[in-house]
């Protein structure tokens, strides 16, 4: 079922593609080439891979379409086994050719080919669906592009700047309050109206027990209290794997934080900045979120609890992606935006989940193992990509997403 009107789809396609180039445009060819860890990818790879997605799943089946370069099928396939062999992920940073300019040409080639078909109205409904999916896919990679760029730049010894932004005053958030949510049989998951990824459905009923949920995210101010109370040094607060990680990697604070002479700073996409008290804590792992909740005498909400609670919030959206900001605002009442929120839920298929047939079915299902669900969205999630039922997921140790948390209790 096509979910967006064809005319809107052309407009969406055009603006999504343009945003990727805006975000990448602040990075030099050198910046766009490096891969700072196997979990991350080079900017120019993101730019090419999102184009490959349209080419592989859609354009390559079109009469008269010529692949831009057959080698790109190998170079820019991410993880689709059904498509064939691909370049090893940890070596993406060594593929210096094609370069940034060549990839710009590739992007234009793919865009022109698809835009002309959109305008000609020659695509089938399934193809229009794939176009829509490709736009959402590209939006996902926009967030990854910014996460990965931040990780790369943060590794530079001299704190480079991705986007200039004024230093903001240190402001606290409102005091934390609790909101009660009644139990009972509730429906969760996406209902099929409008676009969603396959992992968000099918919508299904679950039995929830009554619970309370915090009316704002955990803030930097809260986190400083956790640090001050030896949160990173008390084994009893931590999952066993988390404690091992704390010790092996010497964690003493969220990723990118640094303390000097009693002052904490954090690396942002605008360079190193003082930690602001009222912002939601960001770049913490699931292990840290879980330990914090235990320390606070609370717990993380399950993703079902989170979804039901968020559905009841009047103003749902906080800070989403503003290319001139790329950073959370002060924690408020919204549950979508600023930071992704770790939940207590393992990333598992919903009852009745079936991946799509073919290669595109590898999008989500095969990762449903040993990952943890985050809900909400973040200050680097593109506007329009956020969704109440969105299931983001990362391994428990991951800290390079814009990830924070919100407390719950029974």
């Amino acid at each position: 079922m096509l979910l967006t009107a064809p005319h809107d789809l052309t407009s969406t396609f055009t603006s999504v593609r343009a945003l990727t180039e805006t975000l990448a445009g602040r990075l030099s060819p050198e910046d766009q080439t490096a891969q700072s860890m196997p979990d991350a990818s080079p900017t120019k790879w993101h730019r090419a891979h999102t184009s490959w997605f349209f080419e592989e799943f859609l354009l390559s089946h079109q009469d008269g379409y010529q692949l831009y370069d057959p080698s790109y099928r190998y170079l820019f396939n991410s993880y689709y086994e059904a498509v064939g062999a691909r370049h090893p992920r940890p070596q993406r940073g060594l593929v210096t050719r094609p370069g940034a300019v060549e990839i710009e040409h590739y992007r234009e080639y793919v865009e022109t080919a698809l835009a002309s078909r959109l305008e000609a109205g020659s695509l089938t409904d399934r193809e229009l669906e794939l176009t829509e999916m490709g736009c959402h896919h590209e939006q996902q990679h926009q967030e990854l592009l910014l996460m990965d760029a931040k990780h790369l730049l943060a590794g530079h010894p001299f704190d480079p700047v991705y986007v200039n932004r004024d230093v903001e005053p240190d402001v606290g958030a409102a005091a934390l309050g609790w909101r009660s949510v009644a139990g009972g049989i509730v429906a969760v998951g996406h209902d099929g109206n409008g676009f969603a990824f396959d992992n968000e459905g099918p919508r299904h009923e679950v039995l929830l027990h009554a619970f309370e949920i915090a009316d704002r995210a955990v803030t930097n101010d809260d986190w400083l209290a956790f640090i001050a109370d030896d949160g990173y040094r008390r084994a009893e607060l931590w999952l066993s794997d988390g404690w091992a990680r704390v010790q092996a990697e010497g964690w003493k604070a969220p990723a990118y934080w640094h303390e000097q002479d009693g002052q904490w700073t954090t690396f942002t996409l605008s360079g190193r900045r003082p930690v602001r008290r009222g912002e939601p804590v960001c770049h913490v792992s699931f292990y840290e979120a879980d330990a914090y909740a235990r320390w606070a005498g609370a717990r993380l909400p399950t993703e079902q609890e989170w979804e039901v609670a968020a559905a009841g919030v009047a103003q749902q959206r906080g800070q989403l992606l503003d290319p001139d900001r790329c950073h959370p605002g002060i924690a408020g009442s919204a549950m979508i935006g600023d930071v992704w929120e770790w939940t207590a839920s393992a990333y598992l298929p919903y009852p009745g989940f079936r991946p799509a047939p073919g290669a595109v079915g590898e999008y989500n299902g095969k990762f449903m193992c040993d990952q943890h669900v985050l809900r909400g969205a973040s200050a680097v999630t593109p506007v329009g990509h956020e969704r109440l039922t969105y299931r983001n997921f990362f391994p428990a140790y991951a800290r390079w997403a814009f990830s924070g948390l919100r407390l719950a209790r029974s």
Copy 2:
């Protein structure tokens, strides 16, 4: 609340302790010393650690009790952070002193001290509870001892024998049938009557959707069909992490299986034997169980589904630990015994779960991350240790437990 009559407790304590020595007695001092991988422990370490458990949590608080050797607090603590520093787990196989005979003395010392207090009736209710828990703890380690010994001996190039046993004829299992289970709100988890580990409770209600479950475990015969159909070579059947593991470790069959001239054999505690068709497949990882289920057009049951289904089975118990056998029997209708069955459930706390206060609270809760629940019990689970609500758990890659699977479908 004390769950076993004091008199029975003495008898249980005595017989549990004796069984450990029976199982260990078939292993030489050399066998008892080696650690074949970080996940496993030496036999003599199991013998000492189970004694340390009684000493640390119970006897050390008794008036007039002298520690057998203060250094054992360091050597035989497994993972209790609250108890203090401990010998690094991967180096347990390098602690050659104390030796097997010295550990026998240690065991006798602890046993005498505790038995005399049990007989004198001088223990408090909490202490009696800890005694009971210590017996269950030791039974758990009896199974681990056998798993670890099997792993060690299997690594020998010439297939040594732990226990002599006649070769049994190749027999098939009954054809697989499906049993329907109605949905609705059901209660799962342990209700507090009789002993259970903390992770089995609290009992709570969940909403289940109707499902079907297979009336026997997946057998070796079934598995041979999976192998023959290229099950280990088709990426689309596997979780992403599972496929990576298949390739990195060259998996082509369950652990301990070996093929020569078209004949499959498997290493057992009675040496290398032909694979028997009707036995439940054993020593498969979660990844393999999941891939098999996908190949079979089915899925793994959740642990809640499993528990509800098992509650409805007339004859629940199959092959549990027989020290002269240590191997599953032919797959039958029982759901408890022969092999542990991987479920689709991640190992997470039940709603309202609270670990016990103090060091003993580290028993279960801190491992609730990136592990997978197995239900049932196996042919090396001591009689009396099995339970309908028992939640066993291992990482997705683990294959050295006696682990198999049962199919479900919606």
Copy 3:
């Protein structure tokens, strides 16, 4: 002692600096950024480091000189402990800023500063010596730049081209002959007339026993016979460490070689090319050179034997760096050029060796452990950098240098 006339030094300085930019100029900013392995460095790092060398050891001590950017002291120090902390070597490929253009500015800044002082005649003799040394240092890095670029490009799946060059006909070399060299007390090492690195002296006497040395290097044709005779599969030909490496890395031929349908090709800086029979074999490790010599019933010469033998060759120089070629020619009678030749000698200090005082003394001496001496020079050694007494050195496993061998026998 200043070894080059000041006027010549200015000219040398200018032309050396220009050659670096010529070589780098064929690589895109993306190519110049990546680091293909910890042993290699990015092109733009080489460009910056060679400038830093002049800045650190010479300009920074000049009145009125302003460092271009103080952070470069950290970023572009290679291994000089006495200079201070430095960026970790394996992460050079993640320093995307400064970029290629910024480094061009840095180079010009340093060049202008030093050239003006050279022209003004204001440098002391020691400073002129350091200038000369810096030129030789930069020439060394020109060869490294090409080695590293070749390694990087060879890792691309589609064989990119660094420099266009016509395919040359397959030609054999002359039959191998032997040349006798008499024994006796001979002097080896640099005598101090003209520039040399510290490790080439002091000149000293050694006792040589009479030996024979091949009149040309081992060729690809020779090597194909070694492969055909199962050279890579016969343990008895190999050093123990070498055999372990053969198995761990699956070596079946020199680095960059690839066999398809019985035809061998090799990756060159002009893309993938058929292996030419008459070229000296290139990109073999010490292990392979040693195994080949054993297979051939011969041995590698010691570096003293090599030096004495080379001194007696009429026409010493073969193919040195031609930026339009960057590849060995057909093996001839010259001993300097085409490929570096592994010797049997461990890289150790000559009797009486003393490193220079200060940081510059770290240039050579501290690497005199578990490395192996190569003599001669290669097709990517800049003209003027070759020397009869030159001691190149690499670990036994290294294959990314343009390294081959020549046989000797007693």
Copy 4:
């Protein structure tokens, strides 16, 4: 050429075999099983391997000889590729069967078989030579057995005792003096009279330059001065690889040393003991020896210098293996005994070196790469195994040998 009278050979054979059992007899079956690192081997492996050597190279070729157990060919081959496949070295500690008692039977079986043939006079000269070589081989393993046992026991957290020995008073050594040795053409290496390993020959001439050598080894007292002068914290004293090792492994003193409240102790085979000032420093790596020499304004002697110098010492032998001691004495004038002395020489073949044909030729030659020569002998070298021309060798990082150093200067 048979080098020992047949009658003496029987006596040697019997006493060598007995000494192995004496040394092993102080270790429990558990102690004899564990392998503390890949470089070390279990005691019972040493006992079996030394028996296998006689069986493989000698007895297996005898008419009527039955292998004790054909699987031992696989289990107890150390590194002889020509003999065939063998158990992976890092997993020797996991072969718990055969156990210590079974290996005693194996030893007796081999001993009886060989002793009867020795007594019957039925062995050929070549076989008698191999018998002699097997005795030397076993003596070598006696030293390894003690080194490996020390390493294993030192890893225990509570300092177990291998052999009881009284604590000795803290005594200093004599002040260090220098002895001059004239230069010239000298002959070094074994001359073929009496037994020697192949790597000690052929005897050959070298040109030495005049030098001075210390009249005693570097002592613990000397070493404490090096530590006090920040020897382990000054990069300029170290080889590059050595400095990396110092930092990666946190070296602050020789292996087994521990400092508490300003008092240094060291682990010995008699448990933990105060460091005695006058003993030669022991368990230092080549890196440390080299750094010390640089700090002291001296250098290590080459192995040729060492040999010539030692030949001129009146009383050559210090503390060799006394099974009731197993520890160096106070440093005196002897050059053979107490500790092995690192030389400046890489372990390379002497001119004209040819390994023996067949598997036994793998004894030495294939290790001549990236190892460093030690000369002398140590307090765990069996009497009769020491030799002026003996070339011991270890990697530069190794510290578990009884290794020290002696200074030289030009």
